[in-house]
Amino acid sequence: MKLRQGRIGLFAGTALAALSLFTCGVFSIDPKTAYANGNSTYLSLPLAVIISLSALIPAMLVLNWKRVGLNGLFTYAFGKVGGIVAAVILSVSFVWAAAKPMTEFLLVLTRLVYDGVPYMRIVLYILPVTVFIAWKGFESVGRLALIFSGLILISVAAAALSASPEFAAYRLYPLPSGNADFFKTAFSGSVFFLPPLAALLVNEEGLGGVKNVRKTLAAAAFISAAAIGLVQFALALIYPHRVLSGLLMPLYRINFLSLRQSYALRLDKLFIMVWLLGCVISCAYLIYSASYLLTKTFSARDVTPAVLTVSAAVFFLVTAEFSENYARAEAVGSFFSRFGSLFALIPPLLAAAVGSIKLKKESRL
């Protein structure tokens, strides 16, 4: 069996999940949607993380009772074919979640760092490494997250703090016009956070059981919610929300607004490379999770074919944004932005509901 699951501990698991959530909440959010109703993302996005976490609690409870793994729960709840369909749907959400930050980074790299370099050349640097990391398995991905999470956190803090002379509280205005808008942003934002959290459920074995998954999820959610909130708050203190809603990766642009005369201005490219490490690790994590889920679902013995297939799907989505048929790709992107959460949420939630009903029936019998 070459499932390459391995075993990681609380620190590595938390670092991995938190890094993925942070990447989603800081580098790959949809600026138009996120900043449409004002500069309140420092509240709505942490809330979105908590909403995503609580949405997966029923699945965790049933998994804790049944102890079969997520793919086992799918089969138990929906039957063999239904289980396969559920696993594929969840995997699709992982593929989308892996492609999204990668696309954002590619846009930044092609437009702001390697001006004039064809995007495909940049893809060829990032994607093979991502596939290699995903292929190495959950254990390696978890350890990489542990190694680089500190560095990424320091670089983000340095970037945000370097702009502190430019902070101005008036830019926080306007707050959301009403609670409805605020919660709408929070709920729509949860689309970014569900796949990385659900992926931990998939890798339950590598974390040593559902109980450990629960602790990891809680720790990662609270750490990342705090970190995302702080970074978004810093961004909100610097940019008016109308600027933010049209800005590609505002954290990267922070140095262009502040410290023009200082040497820190020149660190922007170093910072983005460090952040790119986080993006690659979280992307590899989601690719591996999708591959592992599919491999287990189809009772295969080696995760390699699934890793290659899922990576090809991610490659397709990433390059679609740059293709001539961009309009279609944009349509696919906006579809996933709206309904992607359903892909990540419905299979585990539905499996939890059906599974708990079946379990109750079995216990009565």
Binding site: R7, I8, G9, L10, F11, A12, L109, V113, Y114, I122, Y125, I126, P128, V129, F132, I133, K136, G137, E139, S140, R143, L144, L146, I147, F148, G208, G209, K211, N212, K215, A219, Y263, R266, L267, K269, L270, M273, L276, L277, V280, I281
Partner: protein, 527 residues
């Protein structure tokens, strides 16, 4: 309720066992095998001295093999006896004065092997052996075999007396304030060097034969009851699997039992310092000493132990800490500096200030080749000088280093083959490389540096990021006898000592958590 109960993982005793174990018990250790791993048929034990004589004559081809001494005599003037030893391997004085003379002049009533060993032979280490193959091995090892007519066993008498090199100062792991002893090629001497430093009753030294044909004598050193039994079993299992014949040195043996043989990084620590070996054994490691090799192999090993030097603990805490910081910084600079400079010069000039950029441009004004070629050329020359300096003896090697470094560097700049800035970058990176204490890790870092330079040449910082991630992923996945290579950092294990910085000497009282020794309380239930 403690906070650790709420946040801590479920840690069953065996759930986070770092050693990867196979099922079943280890194969019988050191079986007598040919190159295909098949057991060799053992000849029957000779019934008389004459038969023993003929057996040795035939097996050792004594017509041509003149250094095997077969000495027939009458023990006590009555009973036929045969002493067999290898000329040059055994000490003639010991054989003549303490075995042959007392046996020939013995005047006791009964002459049996038991009586002779009890009353006549004046040798400390004596054992009885009924296996012919073990008698052969003992004779080849410098022992003397004594046969007596009608006895079904031979006596093996310790008469080692071959020439060996004395104990010298270490050549590769020099320290300013530490011990000046290094291992030698003699297994016995090396065991003594370790034993002299460890005065624990639980210290076990198992001497065995391994390799195809059982040709290599080695000693497995560990602390019984402290070292994880799973680790000892795993080491023995891997040794038993070795089928390669010929002479096995510690370098070859290490490669044969490593987890990942294709990795450029060593997963076994090779040291020539007895104090370092003893320190690791005290912490629960297994040490292998091989006959003919002046190096001890220590396992398991992590990246951080490869980066530590005995000097760290010999110096005071602040100095040891600074030394380590300089070492880690040097290692990072060694791998990343040339590639980083190249990526800035080629792709990200904006990061450099105008002054630095103009200096670089001015220094490269007359250099005709591209900067990537220039960097690779200088790195190649650096590797050449290093290799040449190591292959030639003593002072000439140092001279080559100086000539290579100064004269060739100056000549290359004058001939516009290289610019001074790039030369400085390569030299600084080379110095950083020498900060890495372990030779294999040094080499791995120097080749990784070339990979990073190529990646930077092709893709700038993006290339470096890709290369670093790929390398980090490989290292994160490495294991040494089941212990993750980046432990105790990734995965994190409970520890009181700092990982990179040097902690208080008092913190060294317990072995590392990752060693899973008996101190962790995980070995009690049959582990």
């Amino acid at each position: 309720m403690k906070i650790t109960d709420i946040l801590g993982f479920d840690r069953e005793k065996k759930a986070f066992e770092l050693y990867e174990r196979e099922t079943g018990t280890p194969d019988p250790f050191a079986p007598w095998r040919d190159a295909d791993g098949k057991s060799e048929e053992e000849p029957p034990f000779p019934n008389s001295v004459r038969e023993a004589y003929e057996l040795f004559e035939k097996s050792f081809n004594t017509d041509k093999n003149k250094d095997l001494i077969l000495r027939r005599f009458l023990a006590g003037g009555r009973r036929g006896a045969l002493a067999v030893y290898m000329n040059g391997m055994a000490d003639d004085t010991k054989v003549n004065d303490f075995i042959l003379r007392p046996l020939m002049t013995f005047d006791g009533a009964s002459i049996s092997l038991d009586e002779l060993l009890k009353k006549t032979v004046r040798i400390g280490e004596v054992r009885r052996e009924s296996s012919v193959k073990n008698v052969f091995l003992a004779v080849m090892d410098g022992m003397t075999a004594l046969f007596l007519d009608g006895e079904r066993e031979a006596a093996i008498l310790e008469t080692h007396g071959y020439e060996k090199r004395g104990i010298d100062a270490p050549e590769n792991e020099k320290v300013v304030t530490g011990a000046k002893e290094s291992f030698t090629e003699s297994l016995r001497t090396n065991i003594t060097l370790v034993r002299r430093l460890i005065h624990e009753r639980d210290l076990v030294v198992e001497t065995e034969l391994t390799g195809g044909g059982g040709n290599t004598r080695l000693a497995i050193v560990y602390r019984d009851g402290v070292t994880n039994e799973a680790l000892i079993g795993e080491v023995k299992r891997r040794l038993a699997r070795i089928k390669t014949g010929g002479i096995l040195t510690s370098g070859m043996l290490g490669q044969m039992i490593e987890d990942d043989k294709n990795s450029p990084l060593p997963q076994i620590l090779s040291t020539e310092r007895p104090d370092r070996a003893a320190s690791h054994v005290m912490q629960g490691s297994v040490c292998l000493l091989v006959e003919g090799s002046p190096f001890a192999l220590l396992m398991p090993v992590t990246f951080f132990s490869l980066m530590s030097s005995p000097e760290d603990v010999y110096l005071r805490k602040p100095l040891g800490t600074m030394l380590r910081l300089v070492r880690y910084f040097g290692a990072a600079a060694s791998v990343l500096l040339p590639g980083y400079f190249l990526s800035l010069a080629l792709y990200h000039q904006g990061i450099l200030s105008t002054e630095v950029l103009s200096t670089v441009m001015a220094s490269r004004m007359m250099v005709f080749e591209p900067i990537g070629v220039e960097m690779l050329l200088l790195l190649f020359i650096f590797q050449l000088i290093r290799e040449a300096g190591q292959r030639v003896p003593g002072n000439i090697g140092q001279a080559i280093g100086i000539i290579g470094g100064l004269v060739m560097g100056q000549a290359a700049v004058t001939a516009h083959l290289a610019s001074p800035v790039v030369l400085i970058i390569v030299a600084a990176s080379g110095l950083g490389n020498f900060c890495i204490p372990d030779y294999s890790t040094q080499l791995a870092a120097s080749y990784l540096r070339i990979a990073v330079v190529i990646a930077a040449w092709l893709g700038g910082l993006l290339g470096i990021a890709a290369a670093v991630l790929a390398a980090a992923c490989h290292i994160a996945g490495l294991k040494s006898f089941g212990v993750p290579f980046l432990a105790p950092f990734a995965p994190r294990t409970s520890r009181k000592r700092p990982i990179v910085l040097r902690g208080d000497i008092g913190m060294h009282e317990r072995p590392e958590d990752m060693m899973n020794t008996s101190f962790d309380g995980r070995l009690e239930d049959g582990e």
